[in-house]
Symmetry: C2
Subunit: 506 residues, 2 copies
């Protein structure tokens, strides 16, 4: 179970079939095998030895994926960087991971001098794009000119990559994932499909430095599929790529699905090749699902929930599940290789329907956080990864993610999940929109604070709201303070930015 | 990745759905969970501790599978016995594996006293059938009356079972398989299907003491399916079971397929629920495939090739492959989690089309032969399991098994090692020289054929020879045809040229 294994299999079984199509470059499995073994040779020549970390700062291009394979081939560890980070954030990760050699794609050349200055330990920067390499940097062509080397067949629990996750609490953490864990998530998620899209094309449009985008590439390889990388999402580009390459499988986030299905040109494209549409990051609204089902009428839908620390998929909402309207808000249930439960702060499983922390175990759990044994021990306890997500499980094992635990309010020693309170308040006829946050409180530690936009012409006061809430939920969950606003701070995706709300009020 | 994991998942997700149907006993996942945890409790009370070996001599019944789970639950190791063996053969395996406790199904009660006498170390025999336990033996009900215990969650590379395979050199060898290996073969083979039969019923008719029958049970569990065990194969029983339980998946050997599809009653049964028909042990003839495709018109066909030592599946001939007449004699190509190649005696890969030994690697390779480090080292070299099967690979990676390097005969789905039969026949006073080969047979796939030179003045007939053999070895190993010759083709070294013998008779 390892990342380069599917390439060997594909070369043995269909050497002349297409491994990847990117712009005007179509490469067969055999050609990619050659390319990968030469890039690995180039890394060896450059002193990259067993377990060394090699950075990768690139959009989704064919070379991104070839380099990932080459790094494993050379017995090294890939450290993909979030392309949206600032140079400072990148330098933090590269430094912490002791990255020796860094691949940089064309659009990120402007960051190179700052990275160089910040990282004296960075021995070499290789331009992995198609533009000529600026002076002082190594061209990918130099590596491609090296003698090929044999695959190290790095596998099993050996470290495959360090995937940095956005620091919710300041500095990012490097998630160490094994070859086995990533492979297991990919092959096990494929087995959870109803119809398995062998040998077709996978569209790789979700950024592959995130594990969701990385994992769908691996799943495609396991199914011997052709990779069609797209460096940037745009709805027309996605439709054209599906049509041009007869794409059978793709992963999108719901925002992307919405932009495709609501695009005025959507009916001018033939999307009937799609057999598997995987989405993650959040459930899909009923209305959007209905539109998406019409547009992708040939596709099985699969929602995958998880996190980088879980390689990443842990629960799956199957295509069949999507037909049950009561499950539309669910993140699905435990994947065949995963165990999932909901626990209280003492790690005891809570009854079904009770909100607690979602935890998961299995061989897809991360090896740990790089150089952070304390955080690792906090996150993985007795083999169970603590996701930090609050949720509950219904009688059939379906998991509902209600909130980040960090959005949980602890008031008078009781845990209050803001989403639960928001769902109640939203039913009040005077309420147009609502967000519930915790605010520091002398008496309660934190108090439940409701921020509400009222419907036109309506009025609302705290006493009435509390009474309304207490008909449905415990008194300690009812808001202790109320604030009427006319508008909310919103994210680009139109989601209320609760962190901003909180920060403004603390 | 472990055998009891799917039970936890099923109890979490569909506690009241059916785990198994056997005769008039239908048990839900929740009931089987209870049963398994009590049998495990009973084993603990009886001194079965971590890593202890527990034997299982049973036809395919629901209890067979519940006991397999209970043994893992109790952190112990299952040793399933070939039910066709003589008591002497069974005693050999039970003794070698230091089995402490043995479950015995009703039909095998007559063997108990012989086993007891032969095995002073066997502490306890538990009657796992539905008949009352004879005096001195423990009833399964006693274990079911014990307090349930928690699952040990024995997993990963921990030993799951010791599966004895027919002895090529006289004595059988105990193949040690890990939980991960068996789970990987099951989940990875499911991912290789085009249509995955989630949540339906699996018919378990191939004997589960063989790994093919065991593995299809595990695959069914991974897909949250209902187990429908059948203790003995008969074609009408199979058709009725498919109809009664709306069976979606089953594994048969080609001989069984033939007996079903050619049965006069076949058109009186509704077999349209079948989505996946898996077969193994040997390829299927073109004519039979054509008839089978008509009878199982809704099913995807999958041929799985492998061996006990490979947990067991290693190459797969997909449903789509079956449409290509040129592939009908192939055993398929490397499964997604397996590496396969053809090597010469120096372990160098041979060119495509050249016959050599089929070898395979991956995390599904056995842990080794029980107490046989020398044989293990011979079989698994540098991570590659040497199958002992001769074969070649075509340009597209399809493997063709041409010969058994160790002269194994596959008759009715059972492995017969010719040397074992030769050793018995050679003891007959009328026999001067003997060679046993497999010949193509309509009914059995291959039949055991004995070529004998008789001693001067002596005579021998088939009936007498069969009776003689059956005193020492299972009936299926006894020759089904006999040929008297005056001389054998010999090699320069004076060794009988079995390949020549075979070629002259095919």
């Amino acid at each position: 179970m390892y990342l380069t294994q599917p390439l060997h299999r594909a070369v043995q079984q269909m050497p002349d079939a297409t491994y990847s199509v990117y712009r005007d470059r179509t490469l067969s499995h055999r050609q990619v095998y050659d390319r990968v073994s030469r890039i690995a040779g180039g890394l060896r020549v450059r002193g990259v030895s067993k377990d060394a970390r090699v950075g990768l700062l690139s959009l989704n291009t064919d070379t991104f994926f070839h380099v990932c394979l080459a790094i494993a081939w050379a017995d090294a560890v890939v450290v993909p960087l979030n392309t949206r980070w600032t140079a400072k954030e990148m330098a933090y990760a590269l430094d912490e991971a002791d990255v020796e050699v860094l691949f940089v794609d064309d659009p990120f050349m402007p960051l190179v001098s700052e990275l160089r200055t910040a990282l004296p330990g960075l021995r070499e920067i290789i331009c992995s794009g198609d533009e000529p390499a600026p002076g002082g940097l190594t061209a990918l062509a130099d590596l491609l000119g090296e003698d090929p080397v044999e695959d190290a067949h790095r596998q099993g629990e050996a470290l495959a990559g360090i995937f940095y996750t956005g620091g919710t609490t300041g500095s990012p953490k490097g998630v160490m994932l094994s070859h086995r864990g990533i492979f297991l998530s990919a092959i096990g998620s494929a087995a959870a499909l109803s119809r398995v899209p062998h040998d077709g094309a996978t569209l790789l449009v979700a950024p592959a430095f995130h594990l969701a985008g990385f994992a769908i590439w691996v799943q495609g390889m396991v199914l011997r599929m052709t990779a069609v990388p797209m460096p940037r999402f745009d709805p027309v580009g996605v439709m054209r790529a599906i049509e041009d390459h007869r794409v059978k499988q793709l992963l999108l986030v719901p925002t992307m699905i919405q932009m495709v299905v609501d695009h005025p040109e959507v009916h001018r494209h033939d999307l009937s090749s799609v057999e598997a549409l995987v989405y993650g990051a959040s459930p899909i609204s009923e209305a959007l699902l209905e539109r998406a089902r019409k547009v992708f009428s040939t596709a099985g839908f699969m929602q995958a929930y998880g996190m980088t620390e879980l390689s990443p998929t842990t629960t799956i909402l199957s295509d069949e599940d999507h037909n049950d309207p009561s499950l539309r808000r669910s993140a699905g249930r435990a994947a065949p290789y995963a165990r999932v439960k909901i626990v209280d702060p003492a790690d005891e499983e809570v009854p079904r329907g009770t909100v607690g922390e979602i935890v998961a175990s299995g061989e897809h759990v991360m090896l740990g956080y790089w150089k952070k044994p304390k955080e690792t021990a906090e996150a993985v306890r007795d083999g169970w990864m603590h996701t930090g997500d609050g949720g509950y499980m219904d009688e059939r094992g379906y998991v509902y993610v209600v909130d980040r635990i960090k959005d949980m309010i602890i008031s008078g020693g009781e845990n209050v999940y803001s989403i639960e309170v928001e769902n109640v308040i939203a039913k009040h006829p005077a309420v147009a929109q609502v967000a519930v946050i915790g605010l520091p409180d002398e008496q309660w530690g934190e108090r439940v604070h409701a921020v509400v936009a009222v419907s036109p012409g309506a009025a609302l006061d705290l006493d009435e709201l509390r009474e309304f809430c207490k008909r449905e939920i415990a008194g300690y969950k009812a808001p202790r303070s109320l604030e009427i606003v006319t508008e909310f701070p919103l994210s680009g995706a139109g989601k209320i930015l609760k962190r901003t709300l909180r920060d403004q009020r603390r």
